[in-house]
């Protein structure tokens, strides 16, 4: 069964060569020149990848550093990474929904309602904080299942379901918090620890070494397997380039963060979820189903994929991540209030996903968009704060960045169409 060749055929394979490919599209990827050529071809074909957002992020950092000398200081960067974790988790969830070609407008309200559940249970009811965290996450999960079921089974457009959720769950949040409006949590419990824990330098270095080491080992192992199976594999040069491209920012961040308090737990949680979701999307059958439903729901259905179940599960995961984001927001401010995730978090969460490079048109994107987009928006917020510019300027600049990102998305989609490389 395992090694059975699906179609046995007598004459053609005997005479034909084993690999008969169009030579124009063969890429050797052995020399630096061919590596560069491959990158150039992809960019021209509209497959920009994370390039625009990385360039944008570097530009933003340079501009703010020139305007304020403390922008790239360890303290500011440390604060920035802790600040983006909450909304970043919400973005990770929205990316899943965007991959389906849908939208979730309720992430802010779900985060707020879950935050209220967390605070009420931990403070008013007085159950252990870890149990309250689990309950808040479960709240998000259940809300998401509700949204997903209404969308997938009943057929209400996701836009409308989550618009109702935007209003309704904020109502729940207000109701739970009651007239006081604010519940303060203990500043020494597990909830507070989520965003106020920093690791000693050695631990940070260790995490960085393990992460980069795992990447190198798995890449080497995978490419060796490909080569052994007679498939086109990455050259050692390309593996080296990729490893360095990962190692420099990872070790660089740890170095900078160690100058202040050390690697923040919040950043580890956020990046951990991003990496986990990235692996899930790219390496598991479930992730493949999500992309398939986003690329063509009917094709996916005909391939035997349970489209409804994929849709419901995606909305469930998205809302659960929103709840986790809400927990991080509570942790950071030591309180759940009427304002928790009730303001710009929804828009920033969705904007970060698009700025990070996940398409609004479905089927294209990756979990790393949450990290990259979150960093861009976090850097803008932080830089403008240092320059003592208020919310009005920040909203306008964020809008501009979002517009640029969406324009790039639409343009690269047109370019892909022109180069016939998929919508």
């Amino acid at each position: 069964m395992a090694q059975q060749t699906p179609v046995s055929n007598s004459d053609e394979t005997a005479t034909g060569t084993a690999f008969d490919r169009d030579p124009r599209l063969m890429v050797t990827r052995t020399s630096p020149a061919s590596l560069l050529a491959a990158i150039k071809r992809r960019i021209r074909g509209g497959e920009l990848g994370p390039l625009p957002v990385i360039v944008g992020l570097i530009l933003i950092c340079i501009v703010f550093q020139l305007m304020h000398e403390r922008f790239l200081s360890p303290q500011n960067l440390s604060n920035l990474t802790v600040q983006i974790a909450g909304v970043g988790l919400m973005t990770t969830g929205v990316i899943m929904v965007l991959l389906l070609g849908e939208i979730d407008l309720s992430i802010g309200s779900v985060a707020g309602a879950s935050a209220a559940v967390l605070a009420v249970l931990a403070v008013r009811v007085g159950i252990p904080e870890w149990a309250a965290i689990a309950a808040a996450a479960a709240t998000g999960l259940i809300i998401g299942i509700l949204h997903g079921t209404l969308f997938a089974k009943v057929g209400v457009p996701a836009f409308v379901v989550t618009l109702a959720g935007l209003l309704g769950w904020q109502g729940v949040q207000l109701q739970l918090l009651g007239s006081d409006g604010t519940i303060n949590i203990s500043d020494s419990g597990p909830i507070a620890a989520l965003t106020h824990t920093f690791f000693v330098p050695a631990f940070g270095w260790g995490i960085a070494a393990v992460a980069v080491g795992a990447f190198v080992v798995f890449t080497l192992f995978g490419e060796r397997r490909r080569a052994a199976a007679g498939l086109m594999a990455m050259s050692p040069l390309e593996i080296a380039v990729r490893s360095i491209a990962l190692a420099v920012p990872v070790f660089g961040s740890v170095y900078i963060l160690n100058q202040y308090k050390g690697l923040p737990l919040a950043l580890i949680i956020f990046v951990g979820f991003v990496v986990a979701f990235d692996l899930m999307l790219r390496k598991t059958r479930y992730g493949r189903m999500v992309f398939a439903v986003g690329g063509g729901a009917e094709a996916a259905r005909r391939a035997g994929i349970n489209v409804d179940r994929v849709r419901i599960s995606v909305f469930a995961l998205a809302s659960m991540l929103s709840a986790l984001g809400g927990i991080m927001l509570v942790s950071r401010s030591f309180s759940a209030s009427l304002d928790t995730a009730a303001g710009e978090e929804l828009m920033m969460g969705i904007a970060a996903a698009v700025i990070g490079g996940t398409s609004l048109f479905g089927g294209r994107g990756n979990a790393y968009s949450a990290l990259l987009g979150g960093l861009v928006l976090g850097a803008i917020t932080s830089g403008l704060y240092l320059l003592q510019m208020g919310t009005p300027v920040r909203f306008m600049i964020t809008a501009l960045v979002l517009l640029i990102a969406v324009t790039l998305d639409a343009m690269s989609r047109r370019s892909r169409r022109a180069h016939a490389r998929g919508g």
């Binding site: 059975q4 060749t5 699906p6 179609v7 046995s8 055929n9 053609e12 394979t13 034909g16 084993a18 690999f19 008969d20 490919r21 169009d22 124009r24 599209l25 063969m26 890429v27 995978g222 397997r225 490909r226 199976a229 007679g230 498939l231 692996l279 790219r282 390496k283 598991t284 059958r285 493949r288 992309f291 398939a292 986003g294 690329g295 063509g296 009917e298 094709a299 996916a300 259905r301 005909r302 391939a303 035997g304 994929i305 349970n306 089927g363 294209r364 892909r416 180069h419 016939a420 490389r421 998929g422 919508g423």
Partner: protein
């Protein structure tokens, strides 16, 4: 005579007031190519959807290797061993060739997708079909119509099906690609698969089909051995009359030739 691998009897299906299928029977033996013929609106596509589990019939029985089965979802048909290749192809444009070939039947190792195994098998499969593809890692949106059709058929073969359902497989193809698809159909038959070929193209039907089952206005309108039946007889069954524009034209042409 071998037992039919798939046998439908008395299948009816209506959409509102429209009776798309009315007591339709159809059977296919292992190693047999049955052409499903009919004019536009005769119910061919509806019947295909019933077999594939996209729509289920209102009434009637489906027998699989002699046993009565229910096909309510595409997954049911797939599990039985019915592979369907649609007219509109139904590939996911954003996924590459390997991902499309293995869509819904991905190979995994330790819980993760085994891309190496899938790509190796895909290469073997396409090579065995003498199919030339630029690269197996391009999104299928970049392929031509013929290439997409080949990928769709190749995908069906990966599931080790017993019955293959082809809906107008050559409708949009060039001459060489049509010949390639017909070769492929013969290879499927030689492997002992039952093939149901929905087609408008009489030349294709005569080239590869063993039997021609004709539908007309949602009912069975004849079941012919292709070898011993004339073109006119089949056309008459499709249109419902021996005196029809197609056969009249054919007889005029023949008289002129003589």
């Amino acid at each position: 005579m071998s037992r039919p691998v798939l046998e439908l009897s008395g299948i009816s299906k209506s959409f509102g007031a429209v009776q798309a299928l009315n007591q339709v029977d159809l059977a296919v033996d292992p190693g047999e190519v049955v052409a499903l013929l009919g004019d536009n609106g005769a119910g061919k596509s509806t019947l295909v959807k019933v077999i594939a589990g996209v729509n289920s019939g209102d009434s009637g029985d489906i027998l699989w290797e002699g046993k009565r089965v229910e096909i309510n979802r595409p997954a049911d048909a797939q599990r039985l061993g019915i592979a369907t290749i649609y007219q509109d192809l139904a590939l996911c444009d954003n996924l590459d060739i390997v991902a499309n070939l293995f869509l819904g039947v991905e190979k995994t190792a330790f819980g993760a997708l085994d891309e190496v195994d899938m790509e190796r098998r895909a290469t073997e499969l396409l090579d065995s079909l003498s199919v030339k593809m630029p690269s197996l890692r391009v999104p299928v949106a970049s392929l031509s119509g013929g290439q997409r059709q080949i990928i769709a058929i190749a995908r069906a073969l990966l599931g080790e099906p017993k019955v293959v359902l082809l809906d107008e497989p050559t409708a949009a193809l060039g001459v060489a690609q049509t010949a390639q698809v017909l070769d492929l159909i013969e290879r499927l038959r030689d492997r002992g698969l039952g093939v149901i070929l929905v087609s408008h193209n009489m030349a294709d039907v005569r080239a590869v089909a063993d039997r021609a089952a004709v539908l007309r206005l949602g009912r069975n309108a004849g079941d012919f051995g292709v070898e011993e039946t004339s073109y006119e007889e089949i056309v008459a069954a499709i249109t419902g009359a021996s005196d029809n524009p197609v056969s009249r034209r054919a007889s005029v042409t023949r008289t002129e030739e003589a």
